[in-house]
Symmetry: C2
């Protein structure tokens, strides 16, 4: 009841009218009387407060004039909606509050350090409303360790803990967090470090920023990966660095004499951003050797080291570094809810001391309540547990996506031979316009990531895009890819071979019966490993893929109505599928019942018998 909130002091020097006005304005500004809510009539309020109606009428009138309240015909007096938009002409205690008029200064001409560009984010704000969000780096919230974070957070906020971390103000980090990182995280990467060799940052972005501030100016040439992490490129450009764009191959950053004129190399060896390629051990040695020979500094961005699915993760460059040339960056954001933002830098104590001075100038230190909460999260073992959990979840999704791509887009796309990471870099058919695909896919609820932003050069491939697994539940992956595959085929229909115009010769039922029993078919999986299929004369078939995670499957095959049919036990979802077969030399091409091209294989030793 509004009158409860308005206490009138009969002994006050202030007039009744002023007191009521004051309380009403205060209530409106602090939200006790919410925007849009109805106020009592002047008569009713006067009665409640025991004052004359005229007093209330005068107060209401002044508030109406100033826009705090509004009168709605035949309905009454309401708190103005404009209040919450900050549009009221005058504010309490501030009769001088101006509304800036047209002659007021626009401050744009004063901007000295305005950013010429900022990397547009590639993901819509409402990504979670899409049915099939194949977006990397966003998380479906089911993955947050909510209960465990709450426990760690509660532990970090007992009175004793608060007093402890409050004493740390200044430039120092929480020693408990430093020790947890030293003993629980760094050993996984083969890195050892003392407390004074670690700096806590607000996420990895701040880590990169501080490192750029320290090591980079316009006299420095920095070698970056192309394609590479656009936010780092932006930081480097902002520092006035000269950039050298170094290509990557399927072993990671290419190491050659082009790096000789660099001063610094920035690299993402665990899973290259954006291609997810893991730098090979040989390549790691080469990079370090190059750095030694050419006196380079290496910035190692190890943001995703835990998601190596095939084989063990390679040790970090920092752990292999024999002469202190590697500055190492990582963060814990993949495990904690994003928004908490804890990252860290490992380097020699001289570098860390200097970075600490810079950090102090930029913002003192990362919030200490969060440092302590994350320290507890680690010390309670939740980091390890959730890392394993995420690893399991992402690995499953990663395999599901690979399987779906291989089933629905064979011979059409290429993901490269990656061993982990949480996104696939996908090269589509030559004629595919990736940006157009992205737009069309979004219309049917599928989010894929365009890749233009990863390239510094304007001469980037148009037919690439990325698909990530952090944000999409496993069960959505197959239907999403199926839908996307239909779209890809639709967009490239004009260029795709059809049964009706394909080069080569359509095999009749008789020709199939002659060619297929005992045949050995060879093809390539979308992820770059070979696959061989043996069609046994008895109608069974054996399949085997190559690569580090070689798989085998059994199935059956037959010929029916001029088509080759097959059904695997596990592969291709165990579905029965029939294909028309065209042979062109020893190249075998499959077409579906709509005469659309599906896949090309090699039929070893095939000779046209006709």
């Amino acid at each position: 009841m509004i009158s409860r909130l308005i206490h009138i002091d009969a002994n006050s020097d202030d007039s009744l009218q002023s007191q009521i006005r004051h309380k009403l304005v205060e209530g409106i500004l602090v939200g006790s009387f919410a925007a849009g809510s109805k106020l009592p009539s002047s008569r009713k309020l006067a009665t409640q407060l025991g004052v004359s109606r005229n007093t209330v009428v005068l107060v209401y009138q002044s508030l109406l004039d100033e826009g705090y309240i509004e009168s709605r015909e035949r309905s009454g007096i309401y708190v103005s909606e404009k209040v919450s938009q900050g549009k009221v002409e005058l504010v309490q205690n501030s009769p001088l509050q101006p509304s800036f008029d047209d002659s007021s200064t626009n401050n744009h001409h004063r901007f000295k350090g305005a950013l010429a560009t900022t990397t547009a984010t590639s993901c819509p704000q409402n990504w979670h409303k899409y049915n099939f969000p194949f977006i990397d780096g966003k998380f479906d919230s089911s993955l947050y360790p909510v209960k465990e974070w709450r426990e760690a957070n509660t532990k970090a906020n007992t009175p004793r803990e608060i007093y402890q971390w409050s004493e740390l103000q200044g430039a120092e980090d929480d020693p408990m967090l430093l020790d947890e990182i030293r003993t629980k995280i760094l050993p996984r990467r083969g890195i050892q470090a003392n407390r004074d060799e670690i700096l806590i940052t607000v996420g990895s972005q701040q880590a990169l920023y501080l490192i750029c501030q320290l090591f980079v100016d316009s006299t420095v040439t920095v070698g970056v990966e192309e394609p590479g992490y656009p936010e780092m490129r932006e930081l480097l450009v902002n520092q006035g660095a000269k950039l050298h764009y170094q290509p990557i191959d399927d072993k990671g950053l290419v190491v050659d004499e082009q790096l000789n004129h660099c001063d610094i190399i920035y690299t993402t060896p665990s899973h290259q951003t954006p291609t997810s390629i893991t730098m090979s051990m040989d390549r790691r040695d080469e990079v370090l050797k190059k750095a030694h020979e050419q006196d380079l500094l290496i910035i190692e961005d190890d943001f995703e080291f835990e998601s190596n699915f095939l084989g063990q993760p390679h040790p970090a460059l920092r752990s292999l570094d024999r002469d202190n040339r590697v500055v190492y960056i990582s963060c814990l954001s993949k495990v904690l809810a994003s928004g908490i933002q804890i990252g860290f830098i490992v380097a020699d104590s001289g570098v860390i001391a200097e970075l600490k001075k810079l950090r102090k100038m930029v913002m003192r230190n990362p919030p200490l309540n969060n440092q302590r909460a994350v320290a507890y999260f680690l010390s309670l073992g939740y980091y390890d547990a959730f890392m394993m959990h995420l690893h399991k979840v992402f690995f499953e999704r990663w395999l599901t996506l690979r399987e779906a791509l291989n089933t629905y887009l064979p011979n059409c796309i290429d993901t490269g031979p990656i061993q982990g990471g949480t996104a696939y870099w996908i090269t589509g058919p030559k004629q595919l316009d990736g940006e157009h695909l992205r737009e069309e896919a979004a219309k049917v609820g599928i989010l894929i990531e365009p890749v233009k932003r990863y390239f510094a050069s304007t001469a980037h491939p148009e037919n690439c895009f990325r698909m990530g697994v952090t944000s999409i539940p496993n069960e959505k992956i197959r239907p999403g890819v199926q839908k996307l595959a239909a779209l890809v085929h639709q967009l490239t229909a004009d260029y795709e071979e059809k049964l009706t115009n394909a080069k080569g010769k359509l095999l009749s039922e008789a020709a199939l019966k002659q060619a297929l029993p005992g045949a050995l078919l060879e093809c390539q999986m979308v992820y770059g490993v070979p696959c061989s299929i043996e069609l046994l004369a008895d109608g069974r078939m054996k399949g085997r893929t190559g690569g580090t995670d070689s798989e085998v499957d059994m199935g059956r095959w037959w010929i029916e109505g001029g088509m080759y049919y097959r059904q695997w036990k596990l592969w291709a979802y165990g579905e029965v599928k029939g294909f028309y077969v065209i042979m062109d030399g020893d190249e075998m091409k499959w077409f579906d019942q709509n005469y659309c091209f599906v896949r090309q294989l090699e039929l070893k030793g095939y000779k046209d018998q006709s």
Copy 2:
């Protein structure tokens, strides 16, 4: 029991020795076997694990060689203390881990953005161990709203809330916090702002940093207060700004034609850093007028607006600004435990948008869990409640300190006519060496703040220091000042007038009896206001101070043994004190029983009758 932690897999390809070694190293690194803890003997562990003793001996030997464990004579095997210092030669999974040798790179020659200077903090890390910490800005932990913060923090970390603020990742701030600041904090300063006119920062340091990044480069001249906030000076120097040092007087920043060649003015109007002087309303108008005439931008650092003790706080410059020239900064750190670090900037939406881009580059956004927790702290009304609480506590301490200074160091120091703030800027006797006083005071458990760091000029007064009230409990203030006063007198003893060498004439008992009844004494309080004392003929006395917080007190006086005695009801702690009196013209000087100078007063209309 250690053997529980070591699970041996008989079917493993790994040897027993390797398995045991692996588990032990892991346990040591993750802290399951703590540094310094005793391990079982090789015989005992072998029995527990069911392996041959030789196996365990070989494992222990390898760990001894590598420094994980150490053998203490006649005592046994212990986990090495060195492990927790990160001094172990080799780390698990990382046979290549080097210990950098002397030939390894020292990276100092690569520093491009190293800071030439950093402002030394003026406060020892262990300030809370001092008995009398008169340090400003540090908090005695009894002031933290621990329970209320825990409640707000818990509310911000329910699953629903976590999902909500996690969605905000990117560059956006928590709309709930923006609205709480808009409706609960800014109206107190007379400021209205929309959401897009506010940016959340990690404390006020980040606010200043971002603003410098945006508005300042080497072409810009910035007018700063002298003495002023050293951290801001450092930021400006780092940006290459030209600095103009503008003096302050007892109305705040001096406004004159010297400001005409500035582009930007940085000012701390609520309580000037470091003098605590509040800028007068007239001066505020003058600053804004100057800014308008000379097309200046004003950076208003309003870090302490709530601690105006005498009279109402003046509205912020931003609220008086008619043509959008003021960029406003404040923070909530005074109310929350430090370490949480939430600050904010208010400016027009164009400026905020640009600052947001810069902030995104520096670190994305301030941790969102904290933004939400602080929003709840505000919405639950705890901010208001604690602000009032702190106001009360600090006001009490502020008065206590003023009273103590006035009692124990009259005519010796000057605090200036300040109305609030949490620190006094103290000008001591001309001959006092403030830095020497600080050193000597620290030895007896008193922390005062040296002021050299606030001056850009080397020609700063040597006899000044600061005393703050945020960190010292009320009951410690009087004894601390008493102790400090003794030290001041000791250090300036050579220069102080003594009864034995004072200019003027010592009044005998008879002369006192003639001169004092009915006399009107006038003097100055240390905080700059006049005080008059009327000695009534009947032995009573009346005292009255001037200024906005005029006080009166009654007491009694008498003459005894050639000394003037007095006792106030309230003033000077109601203590009985006797003084020898020397008259020099109409100047009256009091000396204590040790013949030391205490205070000088004017005896209106006194004529030497001798």
